[in-house]
């Protein structure tokens, strides 16, 4: 056999491709013009990815002796594996198959049929010329570390950690707060079942805290991640607690005796207090307190040390320093959750100016029996029960000025607030909503229930919350808040006097989400949420192999979804760990000793330390460390480094194919003009 024998398969994708691209013309063009380049068969088929489409390829490999395959269909990120599989089944090395995109890059983005068809031809030519230069490859097999890093100890992270640990594999669970539990630990009830959040969460927290396979790193930060799937090396910074956890029994005497009392902006959302040494809440896991040096009297003035004097086990250690540990893990789950939208940003709603405008998270703490008011719903004075409450939806969400997206949980959470207000007080409750979104099991039933309880539902976005009385009938409402809203169902403006306003704040990514994403080599959407590998079919994987995401790190979602995400990420990881080794894409650099001059330019260009040089032994690339970016290949002045899968020959050939004569404007290319027959086949010579 002389030269490669290439088969070209053009997919219609129903009308997705065929509706814009003349697939038959592309097929004929490929056979005619690319015949001299080894194309021996070209076919089109309605759905190449169907089993019949794949069998077409398998049959041609067997019967026509194809040794290269080009499929012109969707993005390689969609079906590359499918067609490689078909080739593999027919005995052809899977890497000798090239999938070129004429859907995402042609038919879906262009409208002119002629231009799109011409571009599709060029794209096919690029694929054919490129695949000719491809060589058979084998996936790289690397060992996989059994441990997993879970970043974020909220319900998503806890769920992932427990699934992995229960299966018998070690987990490092990192949480930046003193306790795991996340936002869920702050909540009072959960919609729509009204389960007590703590009652269902704390057993999970205890399980995670006691599990022999889970190492908790609370009050800690992930500062650096290096390595790759199967072998990540992670540096974790333990901030000083100023408490020796080996000695502390969690008795709580230090907290009780600490004379420093400060507002707790984190767990109590700023409506309650904590001590200078504290546990955020009684069920905290781990049980050890944290000393806050910014509010510790000893750290401020040099005297006090009450906690140290009174600690029965001598566990207080004012000399504690930050400590860094390094753990080796095979996979990572990012479950860093969300931050509530800062309601101060919507100035018209007066949060921060009017004391009786609260956020939904403040309400959660207030409504919580373990919270600062012991579960009493009261105004900011801490005593007066409100006679009327307005709940404002979509604060910071569905608003071009802030976040365009829907925060998903706020409608149900607002309805829950309405229910709880009605349960705890005699107040009249108004819900001010744009659209009521209750898609979920039992959600709409809950909505009906809240309506039946007598909550006033007013459809309209709140324009302003003010204490300025403007209309004559507002006389006598001194000191109350007026909610100005257009009631879009009644078709009129309303000014509703209330005692209390609860702003249902939206969810935002943590302020350092992008920094963390960078550390992990993953990408975020413009809103800052982690981008999934595929939004539908791979919703907990990220673009980076070995890095998964769960819970609100991916976008706003409720507790059941976060739990399911955590378990899903764990299942994905377990599937890999249990195999003991990983098959990686063999896209790697390698050095041709004979051409290497030893200049060492490449050494410093590799951020993964994969390239080493030793006198006498020359330059070597460690395939386990190499990530295949190809920077060294492009930089090598001697052309001594080559890269599998993306070699110079392949890319240069693809460039030539993409500019194939006849697919560009009439001047053709330099090669065509100057070199004549070098790249342009004589039309007469084309075999039928």
């Amino acid at each position: 056999m002389t030269g490669p024998r290439v088969g070209v398969y053009v997919c219609h994708c129903g009308t997705n491709i065929a509706g814009v691209v003349d697939v038959a013309a592309v097929r004929d063009w490929a056979l005619e013009r690319l015949g001299p380049h080894g194309v021996v068969v070209a076919r089109d088929y309605p759905f190449m990815c169907s089993s019949l489409g794949q069998e077409l390829i398998e049959k041609d490999i067997a019967e026509l002796g194809l040794d290269r395959v080009v499929v012109a269909a969707c993005s390689p990120h969609m079906h590359e594996r499918t067609f490689r599989g078909a080739c593999g089944r027919a005995g052809l090395n899977p890497y000798l198959c090239e999938l070129v995109s004429i859907r995402e890059q042609v038919s879906w983005v262009h409208t002119d049929r002629d231009a799109a068809t011409r571009k599709a031809e060029a794209v096919v030519a690029g694929g054919v010329l490129r695949v000719r230069e491809q060589v058979p490859l084998e996936p790289l097999r690397v060992p996989i570390a059994p441990a997993t890093l879970v970043i974020g100890g909220g319900i998503a992270g806890i769920s992932a950690a427990l699934e992995l640990a229960d299966a018998g594999y070690p987990v490092h669970l990192v949480e930046r707060q003193p306790s795991i539990g996340g936002h869920m630990a702050q909540f009072d009830k959960t919609f729509p079942t009204l389960d007590c959040a703590a009652c269902i969460l704390t057993p999970r927290m205890v399980d995670a805290g006691m599990h022999p396979n889970i190492t908790l790193h609370t009050w800690s930060e992930v500062v650096d991640v290096s390595g790759h799937v199967g072998a990540f090396s992670v540096r974790i910074l333990h901030r000083p607690r100023y408490v020796d956890t080996d000695l502390c029994t969690g008795c709580g005497i230090c907290e009780e005796k600490c004379p420093a009392k400060v507002v707790d902006p984190v767990f109590e959302s700023g409506i309650g207090y904590r001590k200078g040494i504290y546990r955020p809440f009684p069920q905290a896991v781990p049980k050890y307190p944290v000393l806050d040096p910014e509010h510790c009297i000893y750290f401020e003035r040099g005297t006090c040390r009450a906690c140290e004097k009174l600690c029965p086990t001598g566990a207080i250690d004012f000399e504690q320093q930050p400590e860094e540990v390094t753990v080796e893990v095979g996979n990572i789950v990012l479950a860093t959750g969300f931050e509530p939208f800062d309601a101060r940003r919507v100035e018209a709603y007066g949060y921060g100016r009017y004391p009786n405008v609260f956020t939904s998270l403040e309400f959660e703490r207030m409504s919580n029996a373990a919270g600062p008011t012991g579960g009493r719903i009261v105004l900011r004075d801490g005593q007066t029960e409100p006679r009327s409450v307005a709940i404002v939806h979509c604060v910071g969400s569905r608003d071009r000025n802030f976040n365009p997206y829907c925060s998903a949980i706020c409608c149900m959470q607002s309805l829950k607030v309405a229910h709880l207000v009605r349960e705890h007080t005699e107040a009249t409750v108004y819900e001010l909503y744009i659209d009521m979104r209750t898609p979920g099991k039992g959600f709409d039933e809950f909505y009906q229930r809240v309506q039946d309880e007598g909550t006033h539902l007013i459809r309209g976005r709140v324009a302003e919350i003010t204490d300025v009385l403007r209309l004559p009938d507002e006389a006598g409402e001194d000191g109350r808040l007026i909610v100005q809203v257009e009631d879009t169902l009644a078709g009129r403006q309303r000014r509703i006097p209330v005692d209390m306003v609860v702003l249902s704040v939206g969810l935002e990514p943590p302020s350092d989400a992008r920094e963390m994403a960078r550390r992990l080599g993953i990408t975020c959407s413009s809103d800052g949420w982690v981008i999934e590998r595929h939004p539908k079919l791979d919703p907990v994987a990220t673009m980076t192999d070995g890095v998964f995401a769960a819970g609100c790190a991916l976008g706003p979602r409720d507790i059941p979804s976060s739990v399911a995400n955590g378990a899903a990420a764990a299942a994905r990881i377990l599937g890999r760990i249990s195999q003991g080794e990983l098959a990686l894409e063999p896209i790697r650099a390698s050095v041709d000793e004979a051409r290497c001059s030893g200049c060492r330019i490449c050494n410093d260009l590799c951020p993964f330390g994969a390239i080493s040089f030793e006198r006498g032994r020359g330059t070597e690339v460690d395939p386990a460390l190499c990530q295949g970016c190809g920077v060294c290949i492009a930089a090598c002045p001697a052309g001594a480094i080559s890269g599998t899968g993306f070699s110079d020959a392949q890319i240069l050939a693809q460039i030539e194919g993409l500019l194939f004569p006849g697919t560009i404007h009439p001047e053709a290319g330099l090669d065509a003009v100057v070199a004549g027959s070098a790249t342009t086949p004589e039309p007469e010579a084309v075999p039928a």
């Binding site: 990408t523 413009s526 970016c629 492009a634 460039i655 697919t663 090669d671």
Partner: protein
């Protein structure tokens, strides 16, 4: 050989019958801009069909030879796309690509290739719209510049010999040939 040369390419504005359609080679990064291109497709965002893409693992893989090859093979412009400076999948490799880009652009300018023919675009995997917008803009830029006609000089040594030795621009080439109405770009 030169007898068949379409020298008219140089004076394309006078050949108003067929508007000049440039061909542009775009290099994409597997992790960001290629996925942005996929996203543009999935979202059915339209851009002119003049751009043809090549997938690399990283913009840092872009060997200057690829750019020169693309120009030599008939491209009117080359676009290097990649991750935003601090978002590189390979940590910092796109910065190395940026260094190379700046240097290469200077060399290309010295060779008489206008800077607008070698452009750089950042696009994260979420920025399908931004990528499509950039392609639309670049196609308009290059359409306004007209065809890259250095191949005429190279193919015809006699014509090239007429050029002043240090004159990078072929004599008579206008700064920018009268651009066709940009309104047609997004059609």
């Amino acid at each position: 050989m030169t007898a068949t040369l379409p020298t008219a390419g140089r004076t394309s504005p006078t050949e108003a019958a067929v508007p000049f359609e440039p061909v542009i080679i775009g290099f994409t990064c597997n992790w960001c801009s290629y996925r942005a291109a996929d996203l543009a497709g999935t979202a059915r965002i339209k851009y002119p069909p003049n751009v043809r893409l090549i997938r690399l693992m990283c913009s840092g893989r872009l060997d200057p030879a690829f750019v020169l090859k693309a120009f030599a093979a008939g491209a009117d412009a080359v676009v290097m796309t990649g991750c935003w400076p601090e978002d590189c999948h390979y940590r910092v490799q796109n910065v190395k690509a940026l260094r190379r880009f700046e240097l290469l652009r200077r060399v290309l300018t010295d060779l008489g290739i206008e800077p607008a023919r070698f452009q750089r675009v950042y696009a994260s995997a979420a920025e399908g719209q931004q990528l499509a917008d950039a392609f639309t803009r670049i196609v308009a830029d290059v359409r306004a510049l007209g065809p890259l006609d250095w191949r005429v000089d190279l193919a015809d040594p006699a014509a090239a010999a007429d050029e002043p030795v240090d004159g990078h621009e072929p004599a008579g080439t206008p700064e920018a040939p009268a651009p066709p109405e940009p309104a047609a770009v997004t059609a």
